[in-house]
């Protein structure tokens, strides 16, 4: 079952897999089966956990159907040319009982597949959020509303698409090996085990329950988390962000700069002010921030920041092989753990910035009004 993305050039993996039994067991418990990519991200434990915890299918959705979410995943993976995630979603659809013919028919033209209009609208929304980011956010929201999708479900679709943007970048930039995942549905033992895999997937997937937001974290993304207040997404997202900021591998300032560069590259007015405020608290003046974001360099930056800031802009729009080569070039300048964390922060910044533009824009408008 060759996938359309198998033609996409994919470099050898730039990270060394490192076993961490505790993290692997955690992923296995949550996903119902082993995660083949976890060992590549263990040097930055928050990233390995976030890639599992933020996945909406494990109890984060209240309204959105898991089947629709799978299709949104598929279309966003295709948009980002992520061979790894695409193969994973494809294998999951196959394991859940979709015939190869049905999957291939959908792949030929995802947006004209034999699916209900609301599903097609959700897929188009996910694609737009990923492709055009803030520039297309308003039109995408309007199109979804016209299809009869309510605000709460729209936020869940947006979160699902953002998570895929995050996951796609993490796996693509690291060039996590794709062949095992792509070959999975063709192997005899997986075909024989298909009913068991289906059972495990179904068992681990669940809808969540409304959860009160105990506290709104201070600093960047507070508004974004608040937008999900009441949903199980909010506390999980807050926890993942707290773990990311607390990680000592890269400095908080360096991570903030990555978020700022991505927000600047996407021209995101929703995320920019919070990040700017946080950078000022880190001791950077407005002039220094402006200069760094205008030229991706500045005398205030240390050598690691200089590399990471310059790399962050590459993650906004990319071709897989090109971004993989650029990430490989960073290996001479960063430690292994720094590289993993830089990939993770940039990936998360891309997902959350696109999400913020979609979810927060109406609030911005009402604020100013």
């Amino acid at each position: 079952m060759p996938s359309p993305l198998e033609q996409v050039a994919w470099e050898p993996c730039i990270l060394e897999p490192q076993r961490d039994r505790a993290l692997e067991a955690y992923a296995r418990r949550k996903m119902g089966m082993p995660s083949s990519s976890t060992p590549y991200f263990t040097p930055a434990p928050w990233l390995a956990r976030a890639l599992v915890d933020l996945h909406p299918e494990y109890g984060l959705l209240l309204r959105l159907d898991h089947g629709v979410m799978d299709l949104v995943n598929l279309v966003v993976c295709q948009e980002n040319s992520c061979r790894f995630c695409y193969a994973a979603v494809r294998a999951m659809l196959w394991a859940q009982g979709l015939s190869r013919e049905r999957i291939e028919r959908m792949e030929r033209d995802l947006l004209r597949a034999d699916l209900p209009p609301r599903t097609l609208a959700a897929m188009a929304f996910g694609r737009t959020q990923s492709r055009t980011g803030p520039a297309g956010a308003s039109a995408a929201r309007d199109a979804l509303a016209r299809a009869g999708v309510e605000a709460e479900e729209m936020r869940e679709i947006a979160f699902a698409a953002a998570l895929v943007d995050f996951s796609n970048r993490a796996h693509t930039i690291a060039a996590v090996p794709v062949r095992p995942m792509e070959r999975m549905p063709d192997q005899l033992h997986t075909r024989l085990l298909r009913p068991l895999v289906n059972y495990l997937i179904r068992r681990s997937r669940s809808h969540g329950r409304p959860q009160p937001l105990a506290r709104v974290p201070e600093g960047p993304h507070g508004r974004l988390i608040q937008a999900y207040a009441g949903s199980p997404i909010a506390p999980v997202l807050a926890e993942a962000l707290d773990a990311m900021w607390a990680s000592p591998i890269l400095t908080r300032r360096c991570k903030l700069l990555v978020f700022a560069v991505v927000a600047r590259g996407l021209d995101c007015e929703a995320c920019g002010p919070e990040i700017g405020e946080a950078l000022r608290k880190e001791g950077l003046t407005d002039e220094a921030i402006a200069a760094i974001l205008t030229h991706l360099d500045g005398p205030e930056l240390d050598s690691v920041e200089r590399q990471v800031v310059s790399f962050a802009r590459e993650t906004i729009w990319y071709e897989p092989a090109v971004i993989q080569r650029r990430a490989r070039a960073l290996r001479g300048h960063l430690t292994g753990a720094q590289l993993v964390e830089a990939i993770g922060v940039a990936a998360l910044a891309n997902g959350l910035c696109r999400l913020g533009a979609t979810v927060l824009e109406p609030a911005e408008k009402s604020d100013t009004a």
């Binding site: 590259g265 205008t294 030229h295 802009r313």
Partner: protein, 265 residues
């Protein structure tokens, strides 16, 4: 009786096996044809990617007419880079056509690589000229720095290429590059029969005019005031005297780009 039923059964089984075998062969043959078509389509997409940005091609292939309208023109601020070979006409008269084509292709490849490396998009080759854009396909707030870095990379690539040409006894190439930033219309532009991704507006014309000023000022890379305003101040620029250019009322102030970010800055 039972013997004839057994023979009949065996015959039926043989026929079924034969039919199954034929169907499998037919299916295999169709699969081969399908794979060949997929490869052909892939080659076609790769060929198209040389004519328009890969993203635009993918959208057109994926979405057909709907995508075409989606990638219709939109107003954008874009940086245009226009490069031209100095002394090409004289060289074209001296060299054999096959040698000339090889030299030109070598130049185009190196220049395109430098532009692509710095997130530019080569729009078209005009004779010995190259027109490239920065920020036309995706938003790029760093387009001026990118364009100037691309020009500097082209300068370095041509220097290296000239060393190769000289070793072969061929004349070296000279380069003139003009860079300007401004608004225009970007998207799929053209007739129904022939449509290509492009950018139209005064910005492109001025970049071409500024390129022609490189000969007047005896330099290889010139940028306009609009570029200088946005450029990293650590680039080393030299102001040139204002010059009148065709189609522009006021004399145009330009700056020669001497080198990349100042050492130690």
């Amino acid at each position: 009786m039972s013997w004839s039923i057994a023979v009949g059964g065996l015959l039926l089984l043989a026929v079924l096996l034969l039919v199954l075998h034929r169907e499998r062969r037919r299916a295999a043959s169709l699969q081969v044809q399908l794979d060949a078509a997929a490869i052909e389509l892939q080659h076609l997409q790769e060929a198209c990617a040389r004519l328009a940005p890969a993203g635009v091609v993918q959208r057109l292939v994926a979405g057909g007419a709907a995508a075409e309208s989606e990638t219709a023109a939109e107003r954008k601020v874009v940086t245009a880079l226009f490069a031209d070979l100095v002394g090409y006409t004289a060289m074209s008269e001296r060299l054999e056509p096959a040698v000339l084509a090889r030299v030109l292709n070598g130049y185009f490849q190196r220049a395109s690589d430098a532009i692509h490396e710095h997130r530019g998009h080569v729009s078209t080759f005009l004779g010995d000229g190259i027109l490239a854009y920065f920020g036309a396909v995706q938003p790029n707030p760093w387009q001026c720095d990118d364009a100037v870095r691309a020009a500097l990379a082209m300068r370095a690539a041509i220097k290296e290429y000239n060393a190769e040409l000289t070793r072969e006894g061929l004349p070296p190439l000279g380069l003139g590059i003009g860079i300007h930033r401004g608004p225009g219309l970007a998207g799929m532009i053209g007739s129904r029969e022939r449509r290509e991704y492009g950018f139209v507006g005064r910005t492109v014309n001025l970049a071409a005019r500024v390129q022609s000023l490189t000969r007047v000022h005896g330099v290889d890379i010139l940028v306009t005031e609009a570029i200088r305003e946005q450029l990293d101040t650590r680039f080393v620029l030299s102001p040139m005297p204002p010059e009148a250019v065709k189609g522009i009322a006021e004399p145009v102030l330009t700056y020669a780009v001497r080198e990349d970010v100042k050492a130690g800055a």
